[in-house]
């Protein structure tokens, strides 16, 4: 005979938690699947309600932002360069500019941190590589601090700079690719392939002797620091603007292209891109990987930022604001929480990497609830109603219209090809996949 002692079920004092009695027998939990579905639907709606990705902006530059560099060990420091030759060092928690350096004549083309993060180098249109102290604590408004600790004059134009992950070594590019040691004023090595001008270069973060550069003659060149010659070159149909190595996968990198798409390559098999990432409606100008290597963020001339999963064609997220102009620089913070975007209208914006994520410390129960919701969303993600809500994004009118136009153009192309195939000798119009079309040729 059942006879419960209330003391076993009622808390003793008001300060205690209520006693929790669980019985997992399925028969006293009816409608399990349906209730889970409703919960998943609610969680999805909640996610969209709380999706407020824009956090704040950093204003202080007097011209458009040209480049952004992340500090390798400090999450609170960010350095940015602008078109008027100024470099700002930002303190992110206080959202203030701690130092402003008049660095170059003309554009600042590239900034890179040294391995320990104490110094950073910048290149500009004035053919100079300048090394600066980044540590803002030591600064007392002395004029010495406002001056570079080292200046190297280069003989050629400089367009980009990248530092080796471990060694005191950096590479610049312009008319040629040059490798420098920090302590020497002459390049260690000069690498060149044809008469191409290079506009962006980056060191691989894992296989750290590898380098990749984008050229203005629509090609991507791979270099090895230990070799005397460039390794490999692929030519695409349109110009690659920017490139970013995957920090977790030594062999893959993503290229932001002028043809509105991004391409992820496997460096072991360059004749076909591994994946095409669509959805931008103007030239993609910059791209940066998340530290997890599973996602990357891209900025475009269409004034929007998109976040892609590496394995997916379509973006998972689009960020835009009314006043944001063409995106010129982008960075994904090393704690995988924030995205920094620099744009033409002199602002650096801080976004959340996951739009509906709650920032700040979470209680264990909160964490559990979030994990549970995440699992539910995942479980029911293919249900039409949930999918529709999760996928829906408000996009600016011009992007919306442009998407439609691009879709029409694509369909037209397809139709035209079918017609051509229908009316010509069989086999004369071969089937060529989109991926094959992008690569013009591969040289060794």
């Amino acid at each position: 005979m059942l006879s419960r002692n209330p003391d076993d079920y009622i808390r003793d004092t008001k300060t205690e938690y209520h006693k929790l009695q669980r019985n997992y027998n399925p028969s006293i939990h009816p409608f399990e699947e349906q209730r889970e579905y409703v919960r998943a639907l609610n969680a999805t709606k909640m996610e969209r309600i709380f999706a407020k990705p824009f956090l704040s902006d950093l204003s202080g530059h007097n011209d458009g932002i040209s480049c952004i560099a992340k500090h390798p060990s400090q999450l609170s420091t960010l350095v940015s360069g602008s078109y008027d030759g100024e470099i700002c060092i930002w303190n992110l928690p206080t959202k203030t500019c701690t130092r402003k350096l008049i660095a170059h004549d003309g554009h600042v083309r590239g900034i890179t941190f040294s391995t320990d993060g104490n110094r950073f180098m910048s290149v500009g249109d004035d053919k100079v590589v300048k090394t600066w102290i980044s540590n803002s604590q030591e600064m007392d408004d002395d004029e010495d601090d406002m001056a570079p600790i080292n200046t190297i004059l280069s003989k050629t134009v400089l367009t980009s700079i990248t530092h080796h992950r471990r060694d005191p070594l950096f590479a610049t590019c312009g008319e040629v690719c040059q490798l420098w040691e920090e302590t020497r004023n002459e390049p260690l090595k000069t690498l060149q392939w044809g008469a191409d001008t290079l506009h962006h270069i980056q060191f691989n973060l894992v296989e750290n002797n590898l380098l990749a550069a984008c050229t203005s003659s629509r090609s991507i060149i791979l270099y090895d620091r230990r070799e005397g010659k460039p390794l490999r070159k692929i030519t695409m149909t349109m110009r690659p603007n920017f490139l970013s190595w995957n920090p977790m996968e030594a062999f893959s990198f993503t290229v932001a292209n002028e043809d509105y798409n991004l391409y992820t390559f496997d460096s072991r098999n360059l004749n076909l891109p591994k994946r095409i990432h669509e959805n931008h409606v103007a030239a993609v100008t910059c791209v940066d990987y998340a530290p997890t290597g599973k996602e990357f963020v891209s900025g475009s001339y269409d004034k929007t930022i998109r976040i892609y999963e590496v394995e997916k064609t379509n973006s998972r997220e689009i960020y835009h604001t009314k006043r944001q102009q063409h995106i010129t620089a982008i960075a994904w913070s090393l704690d995988n929480k924030y995205i920094f975007s620099g744009s033409d209208e002199m602002n650096i914006r801080i976004w959340k990497a996951y739009a509906s994520e709650k920032l700040g410390p979470l209680k264990p129960r909160e964490k559990d609830a979030m994990r549970y919701n995440q699992a539910l969303k995942q479980k029911f993600s293919t249900h039409p109603q949930i999918k529709r809500i999760a996928k829906h994004r408000q996009v600016p009118k011009y992007v919306y219209r442009q998407q439609d136009l691009l879709k029409q153009a694509k369909e037209k192309e397809k139709r035209k090809e079918t017609n051509r195939r229908l009316n010509s000798k069989p086999g004369s119009v071969p089937y060529v996949s989109q991926k094959e079309r992008v690569i013009v040729r591969e040289d060794e």
Binding site: M1, S3, H18, Q21, E33, V38, R421, P426
Partner: protein
């Protein structure tokens, strides 16, 4: 008969007797060290209780290793979950137990007084009688088993906490009361009166009168959907969403008059037992059609009941038979019993104890072997002073409520209730604050009425029909044509040209097909857009002549 033993949920073990009667009981004895060790070794039966269907996927048919791995991992996860939920049984507080008769005696001989004498004081206080003059009485317990509302035919309504005997309200509506039902919480209940359905709060204040539900005979409340279902004199079924006050569906059933209506608690399908001997099942969103119709008895039906997990249905008819059905397979009854008189009411408890009312007599059956559905034997008998009108087992208690012409009585039925409740589902000991939080959660998790179907797991299954439809709609473009294997033997020019012609024709056909499909799709799109244009309403439409419907 000098003394009977009633198993207690507490710590003193009756080891040898448990072994004799209920082997599964052993695992509940967490305080017995000997058994605690045993509980760690789980048998398949225990684990199976926590499994949701068959988890093993036939992996031979999966082509890629990626998906093979994925399904394997999924299977492992499911197994892990069910195993650990089974293992968590040792944490359960209470155990259940039936009456163990002395040798040479049978449980059916025991009266309520005998049982009352042999149980503890708190349990004994749960057995009581109320002599009331406004009978016959209908009754309803809340889902946590704590609160009771009774409604006499002559208008008397009382709501109270039946354990502490605290009265919430008592009044007379001065009108015939047909049925009473608690809504989602103990703060509100619905009463089907002579004309309309009225809602009262637990202070007895009338908060609502639903005039759309008139001449109602039976009320049912679907707690997870917030739907109040009514079956009326004219055979109409009506579903009212009590959270937003909207009628979800109303349509006539196939019967002229609805007198017996029950819900299947596992899938919220409303079932009507008719005078034709047929049980019909209804859902609000099923276009006025039955989900199923089962001819149960060749005589008018008199009672209908479902068990908690909805796998069993019990029907009784004028032919004095009681039939037990498996709700997943309706071809034949699983078991049938012939009784001496017509059964007027049936109810099944959480632990599948079945109570049957025949006039003044109430007989209680229990399932000796849990695995065998048809092993019902007589357990207890109770005789009221007047004809029994209604019966209900109290959830999470070993008690049954009986409403009769002379009032209400609460009797002890050891082993009938679920011993261990889940606080997140139902909590008999909840505070006001917890109740409020629970209400919010319930509302947030309200299941839409459209999801009421026979199979609740349909929502997580693959919609095969629609998927096939979608695959068919996909145009077959971009399929490179495979070249015919050319024989190495030299052919004549005629043969070669024939092969070429054939190839060309094939390719052309292929492309034409693709183009045609494309065209069709375009047309469909065009039509759709035209349609949507047409449907757009204009402000001036109101001046147009309305077409007669």
């Amino acid at each position: 008969m000098d003394e009977i033993k009633v198993e207690k949920s507490e710590k003193k073990p009756f080891e040898h007797k448990f072994k004799k009667f209920n082997k599964s009981f052993q695992k509940h004895k967490r305080f017995n060290n000997k058994y605690r060790l045993q509980a760690k070794e789980l048998d398949d039966k225990q684990i199976k209780k926590y499994q949701r269907g068959d988890v093993s996927v036939h992996r031979g048919k999966i082509r890629t290793s990626f998906f093979k791995h994925k399904f394997l991992r999924q299977e492992q996860k499911f197994n892990f979950a069910s195993k650990h939920s089974a293992r968590a049984e040792i944490l359960l507080n209470e155990g259940e137990g039936f009456i163990i008769p002395d040798e040479g005696e049978e449980t059916i001989e025991y009266t309520q007084d005998d049982i009352k004498k042999n149980v503890d004081i708190t349990s004994a206080s749960k057995s009581f009688n109320l002599n009331l003059d406004f009978g016959p009485y209908n009754l309803n317990y809340t889902r946590n088993g704590r609160h009771l509302v009774i409604g006499g035919k002559k208008g008397h309504i009382a709501a109270f906490d039946w354990i502490s005997k605290k009265l919430y309200c008592e009044f007379n509506v001065m009108e015939e009361v047909v049925d009473v039902k608690w809504l989602h919480l103990e703060t509100m209940f619905a009463v089907a009166q002579k004309k309309w359905v009225h809602f009262y709060d637990n202070k007895g204040t009338e908060i609502h009168c639903v005039k759309k539900m008139n001449d109602v005979n039976q009320l049912e409340f679907l707690p997870y959907h917030f739907l109040l279902v009514s079956g009326d004199d004219k055979g109409w079924l009506k579903w009212l969403d009590v959270s937003i006050g909207e009628m979800v569906a109303e349509f006539p059933s196939l019967d002229d008059k609805i007198t017996i209506m029950r819900q299947n608690p596992s899938n919220a399908v409303t079932c009507i037992a008719s005078a034709k001997g047929v049980v019909s099942m209804w859902a609000p969103a099923n276009h006025r059609q039955t989900l199923a119709r089962i001819l149960c008895h060749p005589a008018p039906l008199t009672a209908l009941a479902f068990n908690v997990d909805g796998t069993k249905m019990v029907t009784a008819g004028m032919d004095k038979k009681v039939k037990l059905w498996d709700t997943r397979m309706f071809q034949n009854p699983v078991a049938q019993y012939h009784l001496n008189s017509t059964v007027h009411n049936i109810t099944i408890s959480q632990k599948n104890v079945m109570a049957v009312a025949m006039g003044e007599v109430c007989e209680i059956f229990r399932n000796i072997n849990v695995d065998e559905v048809d092993s019902y034997t007589k357990y207890l008998r109770h005789i009221e002073l007047s004809p029994i009108k209604s019966l209900q087992f109290v959830p999470y208690e070993d008690v049954m409520g009986i409403g009769s012409k002379n009032g209400f009585s609460s009797i002890l039925v050891p082993g009938s209730g679920e011993a261990n409740f889940d606080t997140l589902e139902q909590n008999p000991f909840r505070t006001k604050l917890q109740r409020r939080e629970h209400e919010v959660k319930l509302l947030l998790e309200k299941i839409p009425a459209e999801l009421i179907t026979l199979d609740t797991s349909q929502i997580v299954n693959v919609d095969v029909d629609r998927m096939e439809e979608r695959f068919e709609a996909k145009p077959e473009v971009h399929i490179p044509i495979t070249k015919l294997n050319e024989r190495k033997k030299a052919r004549s020019g005629v043969e070669k040209s024939k092969i070429k012609q054939k190839q060309h024709a094939e390719e052309k056909q292929h492309l034409l097909k693709a183009a045609k499909q494309e065209e069709l799709r375009e047309k469909k799109k065009h039509k759709k857009s035209q349609k949507s244009d047409k449907e757009e309403s204009n402000v001036l439409d109101r001046f147009k002549k309305k077409s007669k419907k």
